[in-house]
Amino acid sequence: MRNDLLAEIFRKSLLTRVFEDRFVRLAMEGVVPPLLHPGAGQEVAQIAAIAALQDDDPVLYAHRGTGYMVARGVSLSAMLADCAGRAGGTNNGKGGIMHVVDTARGIFGESGTLGGGFVISVGMGMAAKRKRPGQVVIHFFGDGGSNRGTFHEALNWAAVQKLPCVYVCENNGWAVSVPVSESTAVENIADRAHGYGIPGVVVDGVDPDAVLDAVRVAAERARRGDGPSLIEIKAVRLRGHYATDPQDYRPDAAEAASKDPLEALRARIISSGLMSEAEVASLQAACEAEVEAAVVEMQAQPLLSAEAAFEDLLVQGA
């Protein structure tokens, strides 16, 4: 891919990592509830995937990580405010980090029940097809979530209708403590594409070029009116399921740590001469500063009124 794009993916991935690490520390300090499922290890692929789309193509995501939001430039302080129960957030105290939303940036939210997004994405594809030709709906989900029945119903109907949807499975090998091999009867989740007559491809989550290309191909197919695709990213979950998960069920934690795609990208950026070590260090410092500024901005926001509990349910007078 072009150098500037690669640099941008690196910058956003770094910012995501710094942001989430700071989030975890805030959680330990009790400033926000510890409800983040860290995306460490998956942010490079998430951001590369988003880079393959138009800036406002709708994104439905799952619970792991904030790379999607950072990729689209969602306000960091807003995400923190969501979690801290303060004003200035995106969901008015309703959904914390789980339901970050920013429709102007194409961030269309998350289903708290895993697999709930598959079916929503189908309808969004139906609307895109009719109202916004050329728009592509992307839905990210985990290996674990791919065993929900909604996966089947959604992919089948999306394929029948040739909807402009791209399904991206981030297979990090684990669903909380359950390894994919014990929950899933097939090695590559992408193989399930056969059952819906659509392309299914596997890409390595360490390789942003491969991810970008795969999503581009799928998005072009979607825009042509040829229907959905299934992309499986072989990913690595560097941290616990949730921020403070001891992970004692996990024999592969050390091995995983050695496979950090962000480290690989950092090394590539430096060895290819795209940035010097010093430039990377100052980028890191800039990310840290940006995150600190977001923390300060969040903390300056007033707490939400408890009466927000009664808002945002029904549209009044409709």
Binding site: N91, G95, G116, V119, G123, T150, A154, V160, V315
Partner: protein, 323 residues
């Protein structure tokens, strides 16, 4: 005034909604080419095209879930589930996605979705027979219509499609062939306005759909005995017009709810509890409910009839209450 059937009324509502607003789409199993297993969508695909009126796979989760997504994306989907019972088959999508997608994202979206739910006991067995309105009325974020007349069927369905909120629309299958007057010029009362179908002063009956018809017949029998029963049709269960019931019961002092759902924690439970909360000084008579006695609905007609509240039971209950 014209007289049309309840099913024709629904068909007209869909037809007009499709004509008025090109964001309206209609889909579900068999609704396209065939016009629906109960013929409510007859002719609509031919008129509006398969892009707007279409068949679906047998996939209730995605039927409803895609409806939420399509609504979020700017369409106004009207989804048919073939049997109201299937609302529980798509439980996550009805209660969490339709009911809460807007809420959990802090009001970022509107969800103008209508799910049509043909309900009622016709001997098709425990999973194809219920009137599961109570599940909806218990759940935040969902509106709920229960039209009893052709005029309401048409008017409420049109309102439901225009609403920016998700609406669960219960059509009673045993009403499809019933006829009634419809005044094309009249404005439809908004959601949350009950209709007093008969005035009276000795007791109040709350009932809708098939049970409303039974209640009205029972009221005639009772009138011949000198008992004047007020009969209230709530028309929508969410929002719920409790005020009309309260005013009636304050006048009559006695309330009977007749419903085709299960009794325990049914709609009647809520009405009884609210009356007890808000009208105790006016309550002359113990509250009464007639409902399905907390067993599933079998398929043999004798068994079904045994548990559906009957006209005779309504008459007997009012006699007993007012004794």
């Amino acid at each position: 005034m014209r007289e049309i059937t309840y099913s024709k009324a629904l068909n007209e509502a869909l037809d007009e909604a499709l004509a008025e607003d090109e964001d309206v789409i209609v889909y579900g199993c068999d609704v396209g080419r065939w016009g629906g297993i109960f013929n409510i969508t007859t002719g609509l695909q031919a008129k509006y095209g398969a892009d707007r009126v279409f068949d679906s796979p047998i996939s209730e989760n995605v039927l409803v879930g895609a409806g939420v997504g399509a609504a979020v994306g700017g369409l106004r989907p009207v989804v048919e589930l073939q049997f109201a019972d299937f609302l529980l088959t798509a439980g996550d999508e009805i209660f969490f996605k339709a009911g809460m997608w807007r809420f959990m994202h802090g009001g970022a979206f509107t969800v103008p979705l209508v799910v049509r739910l043909p309900s009622g006991a016709t001997g098709a067995g425990p999973e194809h027979s219920t009137c599961p309105e109570a599940y909806v009325m218990h759940s935040p974020g969902l509106l709920c219509c229960v039209p009893s007349t052709p005029a309401d069927a048409k008017g409420l369905l049109k309102l439901a499609i225009r609403s920016d909120n998700p609406v669960m629309f219960f059509e009673h299958r045993r009403l499809y062939q019933t006829r009634g007057p419809i005044d094309d010029a009249a404005a439809v009362a908004p959601f949350g306005k009950a209709a007093v179908r008969r005035e009276g002063r000795h007791a109040t009956i709350v009932a809708w759909q098939v049970m409303l018809n039974r209640a009205l017949k029972a009221a005639e029998t009772l009138a011949a005995e000198g008992l004047d029963v007020e009969v209230i049709d709530p028309r929508t269960l969410a929002p719920f017009d409790f005020e009309t019931i309260l005013a009636s019961v304050k006048k009559t002092g006695a309330c009977l709810v007749v419903e085709e759902g299960y009794r325990r924690l049914g709609v009647g439970a809520e009405i009884g509890a609210r009356l007890f909360e808000e009208a105790l000084p006016y309550l002359d008579r113990p509250f009464r409910r007639l409902a399905i006695p907390d067993v599933p609905i079998g398929s043999a007609p004798a068994l079904v009839n045994r548990i559906l509240p009957s006209e005779d039971e309504i008459v007997a209950a009012v006699r007993e209450m007012t004794r």
